[in-house]
Symmetry: C2
Amino acid sequence: MAPIPKTTRQWLLASKPTDMPVLSGSNQTFRLEDTPIPAVKDGQVLMKSLYYSNDPAQRGWISRDIKPGRLYRPPVNEGDVMSAGGLYEVVESKAETLKPGTIVLGYVGWTEYAVADAKVLIPVSTDALPEGLGVTQYLGAFGGTGMTAYYGLLEVAEAKKEDVVVVSGAAGATGSMVVQIAKKMVGCKKVIGIAGGAAKCKWVVEELGADACVDYKSGDFEANLAKETGGDAGNVDVYFDNVGGEILDFMLTRMALFGRIAACGAISGYNTALEKTAGLKNWFEVISMRIQIKGFIVLDFRARKGAREECIGYLIQGVKEGKLKIGKESEQVVKTKFEDVPKTWVKLFEGANTGKLVTEVV
Amino acid sequence: MAPIPKTTRQWLLASKPTDMPVLSGSNQTFRLEDTPIPAVKDGQVLMKSLYYSNDPAQRGWISRDIKPGRLYRPPVNEGDVMSAGGLYEVVESKAETLKPGTIVLGYVGWTEYAVADAKVLIPVSTDALPEGLGVTQYLGAFGGTGMTAYYGLLEVAEAKKEDVVVVSGAAGATGSMVVQIAKKMVGCKKVIGIAGGAAKCKWVVEELGADACVDYKSGDFEANLAKETGGDAGNVDVYFDNVGGEILDFMLTRMALFGRIAACGAISGYNTALEKTAGLKNWFEVISMRIQIKGFIVLDFRARKGAREECIGYLIQGVKEGKLKIGKESEQVVKTKFEDVPKTWVKLFEGANTGKLVTEVV
């Protein structure tokens, strides 16, 4: 192993973006800085970044539009290290529980090296995973992504066998898990994905097992989606929404009586200033069709004792029974030099990935 | 009593409006027609209109924008008698249960005389009401309006003593009942009304007992409402929404964590074509604050056995205990010639009424 340096590179938030994050120029969103590594105190470890989780939610943490007290976690302020979920290798330890060489999961952020309290870190090992799965799965299927899909679908949306389910962002990290759980584990009557482009839609149907997948980039999107969801009357019992915006607005017209919407994400609007947002127009459908909507954040479930274990157990069972496809096909690991970490992150908003987008720091 | 005529005047839907209903001219919304009164068959009665209920919801029944199967009742089509809740006096009967002279409640519509099956009519009498209350209360507090307020607040929004509650349309028929029930019956911690104009706001506070009422026509509306609802952070546990639109959009920024919204009506948009609607922009608040939204229609509760009796019993108890103010102050009965029935109805959309707007056919 390379000797431990005295300083570490970090990506700091330089300026909250108004729309798409800006990667260079005078108003760039992030800036790279070199800073001394602090001394490791008792109960702490020094660790090195291995992998970062890339999540659309991170865009919210750096939003200009979100007012104080209206976010589910402290916002990232200008001058702060950009926050991210990640996997790190312990390189020096003053904590009995974490030996050097241990791989840990934590929310530390885009810093090549970091000193952190052992108690906020979760040691992880592939031993606990089905054979062939790598440690990066703890950022995706066996991490926050999987928990979002599992609790969002089963507890928030209360999906049942008899339900017609629509999932937007179906080729994305969370959506691809939701599609699989709905179809293969719950056995929902019909599972319809929404994704961008023919290739992704094909993947959602052929690899994930959706009954249909509708391409929102196609000119016939609304007509095609209507055809798959009961025509004029609309028959969708559960809508798992990862995108918000115009697709959500149209989905309001597709819900069955007493249909349930799990509001998980709204990526379509994350890079648009609030005042330029198109807005939901079909609100009356919420009343006339008695639609039930619940916003949720995976943190609420994470805080619940035993929730992580319950979810991981369920998913491992699904993999063992051959129902869930989790593996290389469910993640895209992008080897990235530390100086290019933001570049990999913004791929999220280019619709480039299928499954979980993971940054491997090289 | 005047002799029974051979024909009756009726208001038919002439043309579905795109925005505000049009009362005269070539594209008028309703047209007055004279039509023969059919023979009364066994089990039927002939009855004469006494009072009509005026409800914003009726605008939805004649909307161009609502697609087939997306309304909670059959739409009123062009050429149909305009539908309305009403009180009628039986003038001829071939039904044992309903003697001539009986006053009945029914959804028959704007027809001066009507023949209807006795089984769809509910006989009503002031004997069952607290002293001094007239039969028109069955269209308001002791009818659909009261049930909407009661079930919407207690069952849909699950309002409890410890809740901060906001009610829009607080001076309207439903809103004025919700404010009173929340403050006087449930004893909610803080009840804030939203209404249009200083006079209505004064009425909501002084007569209905709200802790505060914010005037949405005032230039400081948002700042004033923010001040009453916890400042930046927002502290509203329950929002009973009668108006939708921009007020709802702003209210999304005022909800507390896990706040509940009962979506009852959206009068702000009823007279605006869908494509011209501003739309809800603050959707991300639903996710970040885990807001729960439920659309509802009073019909769902009406269909439940004993629900009407339960609600009326609760409200009578409230009146007897001196908690609820229901009476002349909670309704506006407008004496209206039959040829002017639509004119009284459109007052709903002019914000002219406080409490329930009732048409007395003279």
